[in-house]
Protein backbone atom coordinates (compact mmCIF):
# COMPACT_ATOMS: atom_id res chain seq x y z
CA UNK A 1 0.00 0.00 0.00
CA UNK A 2 1.62 3.24 -1.04
CA UNK A 3 1.61 6.09 1.37
CA UNK A 4 0.55 9.45 0.06
CA UNK A 5 3.45 11.51 1.24
CA UNK A 6 2.49 14.41 -0.94
CA UNK A 7 -0.42 15.21 1.33
CA UNK A 8 -0.75 16.49 4.82
CA UNK A 9 -1.87 14.05 7.44
CA UNK A 10 -5.12 15.92 7.56
CA UNK A 11 -6.62 16.21 4.09
CA UNK A 12 -6.12 13.22 1.79
CA UNK A 13 -9.58 13.19 0.17
CA UNK A 14 -12.28 15.68 -0.41
CA UNK A 15 -14.74 14.31 2.08
CA UNK A 16 -17.59 16.58 0.99
CA UNK A 17 -17.76 14.86 -2.37
CA UNK A 18 -18.10 11.36 -0.99
CA UNK A 19 -21.21 11.07 1.06
CA UNK A 20 -21.09 7.30 1.26
CA UNK A 21 -18.07 7.51 3.53
CA UNK A 22 -18.81 7.35 7.19
CA UNK A 23 -16.93 8.35 10.30
CA UNK A 24 -15.93 6.15 13.17
CA UNK A 25 -14.59 7.51 16.42
CA UNK A 26 -11.96 5.16 17.75
CA UNK A 27 -11.32 6.07 21.36
CA UNK A 28 -10.50 8.06 23.44
CA UNK A 29 -11.69 5.25 25.67
CA UNK A 30 -11.36 2.06 23.74
CA UNK A 31 -9.72 -1.11 25.05
CA UNK A 32 -7.41 -1.41 22.05
CA UNK A 33 -5.97 2.09 22.35
CA UNK A 34 -4.63 1.04 25.78
CA UNK A 35 -4.19 4.67 26.69
CA UNK A 36 -6.22 7.76 26.07
CA UNK A 37 -5.92 8.60 22.42
CA UNK A 38 -8.54 9.20 19.80
CA UNK A 39 -8.65 8.45 16.12
CA UNK A 40 -11.29 9.78 13.78
CA UNK A 41 -11.47 7.17 11.04
CA UNK A 42 -13.17 7.77 7.72
CA UNK A 43 -14.36 4.47 6.36
CA UNK A 44 -15.42 3.21 2.99
CA UNK A 45 -17.10 0.01 4.03
CA UNK A 46 -14.38 -1.66 6.05
CA UNK A 47 -11.53 0.15 4.33
CA UNK A 48 -9.90 3.07 6.09
CA UNK A 49 -9.83 6.07 3.77
CA UNK A 50 -8.37 8.45 6.29
CA UNK A 51 -7.41 8.59 9.92
CA UNK A 52 -7.09 11.81 11.86
CA UNK A 53 -5.45 11.41 15.25
CA UNK A 54 -6.87 13.74 17.86
CA UNK A 55 -4.43 13.95 20.72
CA UNK A 56 -4.01 15.96 23.87
CA UNK A 57 -6.33 14.13 26.25
CA UNK A 58 -3.45 13.45 28.61
CA UNK A 59 -1.69 16.78 28.19
CA UNK A 60 -0.47 17.74 31.64
CA UNK A 61 2.01 20.50 30.93
CA UNK A 62 5.16 18.52 31.71
CA UNK A 63 7.35 20.99 29.85
CA UNK A 64 5.87 23.89 31.78
CA UNK A 65 6.46 22.00 35.01
CA UNK A 66 10.05 21.50 33.95
CA UNK A 67 10.50 25.27 34.14
CA UNK A 68 9.49 25.27 37.79
CA UNK A 69 11.13 22.15 39.20
CA UNK A 70 14.85 21.86 39.72
CA UNK A 71 17.05 19.36 37.94
CA UNK A 72 16.62 16.71 40.60
CA UNK A 73 12.91 17.24 41.17
CA UNK A 74 11.93 16.98 37.53
CA UNK A 75 12.97 13.34 37.33
CA UNK A 76 9.70 12.51 39.09
CA UNK A 77 7.80 13.99 36.18
CA UNK A 78 9.83 12.05 33.62
CA UNK A 79 8.60 8.83 35.22
CA UNK A 80 5.15 9.76 34.06
CA UNK A 81 6.11 10.26 30.43
CA UNK A 82 6.72 6.80 29.09
CA UNK A 83 5.51 4.93 32.13
CA UNK A 84 6.19 1.59 30.48
CA UNK A 85 9.94 2.14 30.89
CA UNK A 86 10.34 4.98 33.41
CA UNK A 87 13.98 4.18 34.08
CA UNK A 88 14.90 4.98 30.50
CA UNK A 89 13.28 8.41 30.92
CA UNK A 90 15.14 9.03 34.17
CA UNK A 91 18.39 8.19 32.45
CA UNK A 92 17.53 10.38 29.46
CA UNK A 93 16.72 13.41 31.59
CA UNK A 94 19.81 13.26 33.72
CA UNK A 95 21.95 12.38 30.72
CA UNK A 96 20.95 15.73 29.26
CA UNK A 97 21.42 17.58 32.56
CA UNK A 98 24.86 16.07 33.08
CA UNK A 99 25.89 17.00 29.59
CA UNK A 100 24.78 20.55 30.28
CA UNK A 101 26.72 20.69 33.54
CA UNK A 102 29.70 18.85 32.08
CA UNK A 103 29.66 16.05 34.64
CA UNK A 104 31.53 12.84 33.90
CA UNK A 105 29.87 9.97 35.76
CA UNK A 106 31.68 7.33 37.75
CA UNK A 107 32.15 3.98 35.98
CA UNK A 108 29.93 2.16 38.47
CA UNK A 109 27.10 4.62 37.94
CA UNK A 110 27.41 4.26 34.17
CA UNK A 111 27.21 0.50 34.39
CA UNK A 112 24.24 0.48 36.75
CA UNK A 113 22.39 2.97 34.57
CA UNK A 114 23.16 0.89 31.51
CA UNK A 115 21.86 -2.27 33.15
CA UNK A 116 18.68 -0.60 34.27
CA UNK A 117 18.10 1.13 30.94
CA UNK A 118 18.44 -2.20 29.16
CA UNK A 119 16.13 -3.94 31.62
CA UNK A 120 13.67 -1.10 30.98
CA UNK A 121 14.01 -1.76 27.26
CA UNK A 122 13.19 -5.42 27.76
CA UNK A 123 10.22 -4.49 29.89
CA UNK A 124 8.99 -1.98 27.31
CA UNK A 125 9.33 -4.39 24.41
CA UNK A 126 7.61 -7.14 26.39
CA UNK A 127 4.64 -4.90 26.94
CA UNK A 128 4.57 -3.73 23.35
CA UNK A 129 4.77 -7.24 21.93
CA UNK A 130 2.36 -8.64 24.49
CA UNK A 131 -0.22 -5.92 24.03
CA UNK A 132 0.05 -6.04 20.25
CA UNK A 133 -0.58 -9.79 20.41
CA UNK A 134 -3.45 -9.27 22.84
CA UNK A 135 -5.15 -6.88 20.43
CA UNK A 136 -4.85 -9.48 17.71
CA UNK A 137 -6.40 -12.14 19.90
CA UNK A 138 -3.38 -13.86 21.44
CA UNK A 139 -4.13 -13.64 25.14
CA UNK A 140 -1.54 -16.23 26.16
CA UNK A 141 1.42 -14.31 24.72
CA UNK A 142 0.34 -11.27 26.69
CA UNK A 143 0.34 -13.25 29.94
CA UNK A 144 3.75 -14.77 29.19
CA UNK A 145 5.13 -11.29 28.57
CA UNK A 146 3.63 -9.87 31.73
CA UNK A 147 4.99 -12.70 33.79
CA UNK A 148 8.48 -11.56 32.84
CA UNK A 149 7.61 -7.93 33.41
CA UNK A 150 6.66 -8.84 36.95
CA UNK A 151 10.20 -10.12 37.54
CA UNK A 152 11.58 -6.87 36.20
CA UNK A 153 9.32 -4.87 38.48
CA UNK A 154 10.73 -6.80 41.40
CA UNK A 155 14.24 -5.82 40.35
CA UNK A 156 13.22 -2.17 40.05
CA UNK A 157 11.55 -2.35 43.43
CA UNK A 158 14.73 -3.75 44.89
CA UNK A 159 16.91 -0.90 43.65
CA UNK A 160 14.67 2.06 44.37
CA UNK A 161 11.63 0.94 46.33
CA UNK A 162 9.14 1.67 43.60
CA UNK A 163 7.86 -0.66 40.94
CA UNK A 164 6.50 1.85 38.51
CA UNK A 165 7.55 5.39 39.23
CA UNK A 166 11.20 4.76 39.85
CA UNK A 167 12.82 8.27 39.89
CA UNK A 168 16.10 6.48 40.40
CA UNK A 169 18.67 8.82 38.90
CA UNK A 170 20.06 11.99 40.41
CA UNK A 171 22.30 14.65 38.93
CA UNK A 172 25.73 13.07 38.89
CA UNK A 173 24.67 9.74 40.26
CA UNK A 174 21.90 7.59 41.61
CA UNK A 175 19.50 7.61 44.52
CA UNK A 176 21.17 4.56 46.11
CA UNK A 177 23.88 2.15 45.22
CA UNK A 178 22.78 -1.38 44.35
CA UNK A 179 23.60 -4.36 46.56
CA UNK A 180 24.36 -8.04 46.14
CA UNK A 181 20.71 -9.02 46.05
CA UNK A 182 20.30 -6.90 42.95
CA UNK A 183 23.18 -8.67 41.25
CA UNK A 184 21.74 -12.06 42.19
CA UNK A 185 18.29 -11.10 40.92
CA UNK A 186 19.62 -9.77 37.62
CA UNK A 187 21.77 -12.87 37.10
CA UNK A 188 18.76 -15.04 37.73
CA UNK A 189 16.67 -12.98 35.33
CA UNK A 190 19.35 -13.27 32.65
CA UNK A 191 19.40 -17.05 33.14
CA UNK A 192 15.68 -17.65 32.90
CA UNK A 193 14.66 -15.02 30.35
CA UNK A 194 15.77 -16.86 27.17
CA UNK A 195 13.29 -19.64 27.91
CA UNK A 196 10.41 -17.20 28.28
CA UNK A 197 11.55 -15.40 25.14
CA UNK A 198 11.59 -18.71 23.25
CA UNK A 199 8.08 -19.46 24.50
CA UNK A 200 6.90 -16.11 23.24
CA UNK A 201 8.65 -16.66 19.91
CA UNK A 202 7.05 -20.05 19.48
CA UNK A 203 3.65 -18.64 20.33
CA UNK A 204 3.79 -15.82 17.81
CA UNK A 205 6.46 -16.08 15.13
CA UNK A 206 4.67 -18.66 13.02
CA UNK A 207 1.21 -18.18 14.46
CA UNK A 208 -1.02 -18.16 11.40
CA UNK A 209 -3.45 -15.53 12.68
CA UNK A 210 -0.74 -13.27 14.03
CA UNK A 211 1.34 -13.41 10.85
CA UNK A 212 -1.66 -12.91 8.56
CA UNK A 213 -2.72 -9.84 10.50
CA UNK A 214 0.71 -8.21 10.70
CA UNK A 215 2.62 -9.14 7.55
CA UNK A 216 2.33 -6.52 4.84
CA UNK A 217 0.27 -4.25 7.09
CA UNK A 218 1.33 -0.68 7.69
CA UNK A 219 4.39 -0.72 5.46
CA UNK A 220 6.83 2.13 6.03
CA UNK A 221 9.58 2.54 3.47
CA UNK A 222 13.09 3.57 4.42
CA UNK A 223 12.83 6.99 2.77
CA UNK A 224 9.53 7.72 4.46
CA UNK A 225 10.87 6.57 7.80
CA UNK A 226 13.72 9.07 7.59
CA UNK A 227 11.57 11.84 6.18
CA UNK A 228 8.98 11.36 8.91
CA UNK A 229 11.63 11.40 11.62
CA UNK A 230 11.15 7.83 12.84
CA UNK A 231 13.74 6.40 15.20
CA UNK A 232 14.15 3.29 17.27
CA UNK A 233 12.55 -0.05 16.39
CA UNK A 234 10.09 1.59 13.99
CA UNK A 235 12.93 2.98 11.86
CA UNK A 236 15.11 -0.11 12.20
CA UNK A 237 12.27 -2.32 10.96
CA UNK A 238 12.27 -0.18 7.81
CA UNK A 239 15.98 -0.58 7.19
CA UNK A 240 17.29 2.60 8.81
CA UNK A 241 20.41 1.24 10.47
CA UNK A 242 20.60 3.72 13.29
CA UNK A 243 20.97 3.20 16.99
CA UNK A 244 22.28 5.91 19.29
CA UNK A 245 23.91 3.26 21.46
CA UNK A 246 26.23 2.57 18.53
CA UNK A 247 26.26 5.91 16.74
CA UNK A 248 26.89 8.18 19.70
CA UNK A 249 27.79 5.79 22.50
CA UNK A 250 26.69 7.20 25.83
CA UNK A 251 26.93 5.66 29.32
CA UNK A 252 28.93 2.46 29.04
CA UNK A 253 27.62 1.13 25.73
CA UNK A 254 30.98 1.34 24.02
CA UNK A 255 32.25 -1.39 26.35
CA UNK A 256 29.80 -4.06 25.31
CA UNK A 257 29.41 -6.43 22.46
CA UNK A 258 25.93 -6.32 21.00
CA UNK A 259 24.22 -6.14 17.65
CA UNK A 260 21.53 -3.84 16.33
CA UNK A 261 18.79 -5.92 14.72
CA UNK A 262 17.31 -4.41 11.58
CA UNK A 263 14.74 -5.49 9.02
CA UNK A 264 13.91 -4.11 5.62
CA UNK A 265 10.24 -4.91 5.07
CA UNK A 266 8.94 -2.17 7.36
CA UNK A 267 5.59 -3.77 8.18
CA UNK A 268 4.04 -4.58 11.55
CA UNK A 269 5.58 -8.03 11.53
CA UNK A 270 9.06 -6.59 10.98
CA UNK A 271 8.58 -4.21 13.88
CA UNK A 272 7.55 -7.14 16.03
CA UNK A 273 10.61 -9.16 14.99
CA UNK A 274 12.97 -6.25 15.62
CA UNK A 275 11.61 -5.81 19.12
CA UNK A 276 11.93 -9.52 19.84
CA UNK A 277 15.52 -9.57 18.61
CA UNK A 278 16.40 -6.43 20.55
CA UNK A 279 15.35 -8.06 23.80
CA UNK A 280 17.99 -10.74 23.40
CA UNK A 281 20.63 -8.14 22.53
CA UNK A 282 19.68 -6.14 25.61
CA UNK A 283 20.01 -9.28 27.65
CA UNK A 284 23.55 -9.69 26.30
CA UNK A 285 24.38 -6.17 27.41
CA UNK A 286 22.91 -6.76 30.86
CA UNK A 287 24.85 -9.96 31.24
CA UNK A 288 28.16 -8.37 30.27
CA UNK A 289 27.53 -5.36 32.46
CA UNK A 290 26.49 -7.22 35.57
CA UNK A 291 29.53 -9.52 35.39
CA UNK A 292 31.90 -6.58 34.94
CA UNK A 293 30.25 -4.17 37.36
CA UNK A 294 33.05 -1.88 38.53
CA UNK A 295 33.51 -1.12 42.22
CA UNK A 296 33.71 2.38 43.60
CA UNK A 297 31.29 5.19 44.33
CA UNK A 298 28.10 5.74 42.34
CA UNK A 299 28.02 9.49 42.78
CA UNK A 300 30.54 11.96 41.47
CA UNK A 301 32.70 13.63 44.06
CA UNK A 302 30.93 15.77 46.63
CA UNK A 303 33.42 18.59 46.02
CA UNK A 304 31.76 19.46 42.73
CA UNK A 305 28.74 20.81 44.62
CA UNK A 306 26.44 19.44 41.98
CA UNK A 307 25.35 16.12 43.38
CA UNK A 308 23.28 15.19 46.38
CA UNK A 309 25.47 13.27 48.83
CA UNK A 310 24.24 9.89 50.00
CA UNK A 311 22.59 9.71 53.38
CA UNK A 312 25.45 8.14 55.40
CA UNK A 313 27.66 11.00 54.24
CA UNK A 314 25.04 13.55 55.29
CA UNK A 315 24.72 12.07 58.75
CA UNK A 316 28.37 11.39 59.49
CA UNK A 317 30.47 14.02 57.72
CA UNK A 318 30.39 17.79 57.82
CA UNK A 319 31.17 18.00 54.08
CA UNK A 320 28.17 15.83 53.27
CA UNK A 321 25.91 17.92 55.48
CA UNK A 322 27.08 21.18 53.96
CA UNK A 323 26.70 19.74 50.51
CA UNK A 324 23.15 18.59 51.23
CA UNK A 325 22.18 22.12 52.29
CA UNK A 326 24.00 23.70 49.38
CA UNK A 327 22.02 21.69 46.87
CA UNK A 328 18.66 21.65 48.62
CA UNK A 329 18.27 25.22 49.88
CA UNK A 330 16.25 27.33 47.53
CA UNK A 331 18.70 30.24 47.56
CA UNK A 332 21.69 28.02 46.77
CA UNK A 333 21.33 25.05 44.47
CA UNK A 334 23.25 24.33 41.30
CA UNK A 335 25.06 26.86 39.25
CA UNK A 336 24.73 26.07 35.59
CA UNK A 337 26.21 27.58 32.47
CA UNK A 338 23.96 30.10 30.75
CA UNK A 339 23.56 28.08 27.61
CA UNK A 340 21.48 25.43 25.99
CA UNK A 341 22.14 21.83 25.21
CA UNK A 342 20.45 18.84 23.61
CA UNK A 343 21.22 15.27 24.55
CA UNK A 344 19.39 12.13 23.57
CA UNK A 345 19.44 8.47 24.42
CA UNK A 346 18.11 5.47 22.59
CA UNK A 347 14.99 4.84 24.63
CA UNK A 348 13.01 1.65 23.95
CA UNK A 349 10.76 3.62 21.61
CA UNK A 350 13.41 5.58 19.79
CA UNK A 351 15.38 8.74 20.28
CA UNK A 352 14.32 10.36 23.53
CA UNK A 353 16.04 13.70 23.85
CA UNK A 354 15.86 16.69 26.11
CA UNK A 355 16.66 20.20 24.97
CA UNK A 356 17.55 22.10 28.11
CA UNK A 357 17.96 25.85 28.22
CA UNK A 358 19.75 26.84 31.41
CA UNK A 359 19.80 30.35 32.83
CA UNK A 360 22.38 29.81 35.56
CA UNK A 361 19.91 28.81 38.27
CA UNK A 362 19.06 25.31 39.43
CA UNK A 363 15.79 25.31 37.52
CA UNK A 364 15.75 24.72 33.78
CA UNK A 365 14.63 27.76 31.80
CA UNK A 366 13.12 25.41 29.25
CA UNK A 367 12.97 21.63 29.32
CA UNK A 368 11.89 20.47 25.91
CA UNK A 369 11.31 16.76 25.56
CA UNK A 370 11.59 15.14 22.14
CA UNK A 371 9.17 12.27 22.59
CA UNK A 372 9.42 9.37 20.15
CA UNK A 373 5.73 8.48 20.54
CA UNK A 374 4.73 11.93 19.29
CA UNK A 375 6.74 11.53 16.13
CA UNK A 376 5.57 7.97 15.57
CA UNK A 377 1.92 8.72 16.05
CA UNK A 378 2.13 11.37 13.33
CA UNK A 379 3.15 8.52 11.02
CA UNK A 380 0.02 6.54 11.82
CA UNK A 381 -2.29 8.06 9.16
CA UNK A 382 0.26 7.25 6.43
CA UNK A 383 0.43 3.64 7.56
CA UNK A 384 -3.25 2.90 7.92
CA UNK A 385 -4.71 4.40 4.74
CA UNK A 386 -6.05 1.69 2.52
CA UNK A 387 -6.10 -1.01 5.15
CA UNK A 388 -9.06 -2.53 6.94
CA UNK A 389 -10.46 -1.14 10.13
CA UNK A 390 -9.33 -4.29 11.93
CA UNK A 391 -5.74 -3.41 11.02
CA UNK A 392 -5.92 -0.23 13.07
CA UNK A 393 -5.13 -2.13 16.24
CA UNK A 394 -2.29 -4.03 14.55
CA UNK A 395 -0.60 -0.81 13.41
CA UNK A 396 -1.23 0.97 16.70
CA UNK A 397 0.20 -1.95 18.62
CA UNK A 398 3.31 -2.12 16.45
CA UNK A 399 4.08 1.59 16.87
CA UNK A 400 3.88 1.35 20.66
CA UNK A 401 2.19 4.68 21.24
CA UNK A 402 2.28 5.69 24.88
CA UNK A 403 -0.22 8.50 25.30
CA UNK A 404 1.38 9.98 28.39
CA UNK A 405 4.57 10.52 26.43
CA UNK A 406 2.64 11.61 23.36
CA UNK A 407 0.79 14.39 25.17
CA UNK A 408 3.12 15.12 28.07
Amino acid sequence: MSTELGQSTQSPVDLEQKEYLWTLNFGPQHPATHTTLRLILTLDGERVVDAVPDIGYLHSGFEKLGEHLDYNQYVVVTDRMNYISPLANNVAWHHAVEKLLGIELTPRCKYIRTILAELARISDHLLCVGAAALDLGAMTAFLYAFNQRELLYEIFELVCGARFTTSYTRVGGLMYDVDDRFIERVRWFVRQFPKAHADLTRLLNRNRIFVDRTKGIGVLSKEDAINLGCTGPVARASGVTRDLRKDQPYLAYADFDFKVPCMTSGDCYARYLVRMAEMLESLKIVEQAIENLPPGPVNVDVGTRLVLPDKPQVYTTIEGLIQQFEVIMSNRGFSTPVDECYAAIESPNGELGFYIVADGSDVAYRARCRPPSFIHFAVFPYLIRGHNVSDVVAVLGSLNIIAAELDR
Binding site: L5, S8, T9, Q10, S11, I55, G56, H59, G61, E63, K64, L65, E67, H68, K99, L100, L101, G102, D224, I226, N227, L228, G229, V240, R242, D247, Q248, G303, T304, R305, S335, T336, P337, V338, D339, E340, C341, Y342, A343, A344, E351, G353, Y355, V357, D359, G360, Y365, R366, R368, R370, F374, I375, F377, A378, Y382, D407, R408
Partner: protein, 179 residues
Protein backbone atom coordinates in the same frame (compact mmCIF):
# COMPACT_ATOMS: atom_id res chain seq x y z
CA UNK B 1 34.33 24.50 43.25
CA UNK B 2 34.90 23.40 39.71
CA UNK B 3 33.44 25.79 37.22
CA UNK B 4 31.46 24.18 34.43
CA UNK B 5 33.37 24.67 31.23
CA UNK B 6 32.25 27.66 29.28
CA UNK B 7 31.39 27.94 25.64
CA UNK B 8 34.34 27.43 23.32
CA UNK B 9 34.53 28.96 19.90
CA UNK B 10 36.00 26.63 17.33
CA UNK B 11 38.71 27.88 15.08
CA UNK B 12 38.30 28.05 11.34
CA UNK B 13 40.02 24.76 10.50
CA UNK B 14 38.08 22.77 13.09
CA UNK B 15 34.79 23.57 11.40
CA UNK B 16 33.05 20.63 9.79
CA UNK B 17 32.82 20.79 6.02
CA UNK B 18 29.12 21.55 5.94
CA UNK B 19 29.51 24.63 8.15
CA UNK B 20 32.01 26.07 5.72
CA UNK B 21 29.67 25.29 2.85
CA UNK B 22 26.77 27.05 4.57
CA UNK B 23 28.89 30.07 5.47
CA UNK B 24 30.29 30.26 1.94
CA UNK B 25 26.82 30.08 0.49
CA UNK B 26 25.02 32.54 2.79
CA UNK B 27 27.87 34.72 4.04
CA UNK B 28 29.58 34.91 7.39
CA UNK B 29 27.73 38.10 8.32
CA UNK B 30 24.35 36.39 8.14
CA UNK B 31 25.14 32.94 9.49
CA UNK B 32 27.06 32.52 12.71
CA UNK B 33 28.19 29.34 14.40
CA UNK B 34 28.63 28.44 18.04
CA UNK B 35 29.52 25.24 19.81
CA UNK B 36 28.55 24.13 23.29
CA UNK B 37 29.51 20.62 24.42
CA UNK B 38 29.03 18.69 21.19
CA UNK B 39 26.07 20.75 20.00
CA UNK B 40 26.87 22.71 16.88
CA UNK B 41 24.53 25.61 16.29
CA UNK B 42 23.98 27.80 13.29
CA UNK B 43 22.24 31.06 14.04
CA UNK B 44 20.48 32.43 11.01
CA UNK B 45 18.19 35.37 10.35
CA UNK B 46 14.53 34.45 10.30
CA UNK B 47 14.05 35.18 6.59
CA UNK B 48 16.87 32.79 5.73
CA UNK B 49 15.80 29.87 7.89
CA UNK B 50 14.01 27.98 5.16
CA UNK B 51 16.81 28.50 2.66
CA UNK B 52 19.46 27.35 5.10
CA UNK B 53 17.45 24.30 6.08
CA UNK B 54 16.85 23.40 2.47
CA UNK B 55 20.52 23.85 1.70
CA UNK B 56 21.44 21.63 4.64
CA UNK B 57 19.01 18.99 3.49
CA UNK B 58 19.79 18.99 -0.20
CA UNK B 59 23.48 19.85 -0.29
CA UNK B 60 24.81 18.64 3.05
CA UNK B 61 22.82 15.44 3.51
CA UNK B 62 20.88 16.32 6.65
CA UNK B 63 18.00 14.04 5.81
CA UNK B 64 16.27 13.74 9.17
CA UNK B 65 14.44 16.44 11.06
CA UNK B 66 14.78 15.36 14.67
CA UNK B 67 12.91 18.12 16.39
CA UNK B 68 11.47 21.59 16.11
CA UNK B 69 11.12 23.53 19.27
CA UNK B 70 10.98 27.08 20.50
CA UNK B 71 12.16 28.99 23.53
CA UNK B 72 10.63 32.14 25.00
CA UNK B 73 13.58 34.27 26.07
CA UNK B 74 11.44 36.85 27.89
CA UNK B 75 13.26 36.62 31.24
CA UNK B 76 16.49 35.07 29.96
CA UNK B 77 19.72 36.81 31.04
CA UNK B 78 21.07 39.17 28.39
CA UNK B 79 18.57 38.06 25.78
CA UNK B 80 17.80 40.53 23.03
CA UNK B 81 15.09 38.67 21.15
CA UNK B 82 11.83 37.31 22.47
CA UNK B 83 11.58 33.91 20.81
CA UNK B 84 14.01 31.44 19.37
CA UNK B 85 12.95 28.64 17.04
CA UNK B 86 15.31 25.69 16.92
CA UNK B 87 15.42 23.06 14.21
CA UNK B 88 17.40 20.00 15.08
CA UNK B 89 18.77 18.10 12.10
CA UNK B 90 20.57 14.82 11.75
CA UNK B 91 22.58 13.34 8.91
CA UNK B 92 21.78 9.64 9.09
CA UNK B 93 24.79 8.70 6.97
CA UNK B 94 27.58 10.62 8.70
CA UNK B 95 25.90 10.90 12.09
CA UNK B 96 26.41 14.67 12.26
CA UNK B 97 23.94 16.87 14.06
CA UNK B 98 23.24 20.53 13.66
CA UNK B 99 20.89 22.91 15.43
CA UNK B 100 19.61 25.76 13.33
CA UNK B 101 18.31 28.65 15.31
CA UNK B 102 16.37 31.76 14.32
CA UNK B 103 15.16 34.58 16.52
CA UNK B 104 11.71 36.10 16.31
CA UNK B 105 10.13 39.15 17.87
CA UNK B 106 6.60 40.28 18.40
CA UNK B 107 4.39 41.16 16.65
CA UNK B 108 5.79 39.37 13.61
CA UNK B 109 5.88 35.79 14.84
CA UNK B 110 6.02 34.03 11.50
CA UNK B 111 8.62 31.69 10.11
CA UNK B 112 8.45 29.61 6.98
CA UNK B 113 7.25 26.03 7.35
CA UNK B 114 9.57 23.19 6.38
CA UNK B 115 6.70 20.77 5.84
CA UNK B 116 7.57 20.40 2.17
CA UNK B 117 11.10 19.30 3.11
CA UNK B 118 10.31 16.98 5.98
CA UNK B 119 6.88 15.52 6.68
CA UNK B 120 7.96 15.18 10.29
CA UNK B 121 7.48 18.94 10.60
CA UNK B 122 3.70 18.57 10.47
CA UNK B 123 3.00 17.86 14.13
CA UNK B 124 6.17 19.49 15.45
CA UNK B 125 5.21 22.84 13.94
CA UNK B 126 1.68 22.49 15.18
CA UNK B 127 2.99 21.90 18.68
CA UNK B 128 5.20 24.98 18.57
CA UNK B 129 2.23 27.02 17.34
CA UNK B 130 0.05 25.53 20.07
CA UNK B 131 2.49 26.32 22.86
CA UNK B 132 4.08 29.59 21.71
CA UNK B 133 1.81 31.09 19.07
CA UNK B 134 4.57 31.13 16.47
CA UNK B 135 3.01 30.71 13.04
CA UNK B 136 4.57 28.64 10.28
CA UNK B 137 3.78 30.09 6.89
CA UNK B 138 2.96 27.41 4.37
CA UNK B 139 1.90 24.73 6.82
CA UNK B 140 -1.17 23.04 5.37
CA UNK B 141 -3.08 22.59 8.60
CA UNK B 142 -1.75 24.85 11.31
CA UNK B 143 -4.10 24.46 14.25
CA UNK B 144 -3.77 23.49 17.87
CA UNK B 145 -2.70 19.94 18.55
CA UNK B 146 -2.46 19.27 22.28
CA UNK B 147 -4.81 21.91 23.61
CA UNK B 148 -8.46 22.29 22.68
CA UNK B 149 -9.22 24.51 19.70
CA UNK B 150 -11.06 27.08 21.80
CA UNK B 151 -8.05 27.68 24.06
CA UNK B 152 -6.94 31.28 23.76
CA UNK B 153 -3.49 31.51 25.38
CA UNK B 154 -0.09 30.07 24.51
CA UNK B 155 0.94 28.30 27.71
CA UNK B 156 4.67 27.79 27.25
CA UNK B 157 5.24 31.53 26.96
CA UNK B 158 6.96 32.85 30.01
CA UNK B 159 4.23 35.38 30.78
CA UNK B 160 1.68 32.58 31.14
CA UNK B 161 1.36 31.52 34.78
CA UNK B 162 2.02 27.95 35.86
CA UNK B 163 -1.49 27.55 37.22
CA UNK B 164 -3.18 28.95 34.16
CA UNK B 165 -5.63 31.78 33.91
CA UNK B 166 -8.69 29.90 35.04
CA UNK B 167 -9.43 28.27 31.67
CA UNK B 168 -10.43 25.12 33.39
CA UNK B 169 -13.21 26.81 35.32
CA UNK B 170 -14.54 28.59 32.30
CA UNK B 171 -14.98 25.55 30.10
CA UNK B 172 -18.57 24.77 29.29
CA UNK B 173 -19.78 21.88 31.38
CA UNK B 174 -21.97 19.14 30.04
CA UNK B 175 -24.33 17.65 32.55
CA UNK B 176 -26.04 14.34 32.14
CA UNK B 177 -29.36 16.05 31.34
CA UNK B 178 -27.88 18.10 28.52
CA UNK B 179 -26.17 15.26 26.76
Amino acid sequence: MTEPTVQTEQTQDEQPAFVRKVIDRFGADRVSMSVFRDNLRLIVPRELSYEVLRFLKEECGFDMLVDITAVDYLYYPKARDRFGVIWSLLNTATNERVFVKAFLNEPDLVVRSVFDLWKAADWLEREVYDMFGIRFAGHPNLRRILLPDEFTAFPLRKDYPLRGRGERHNFRRLTREQS
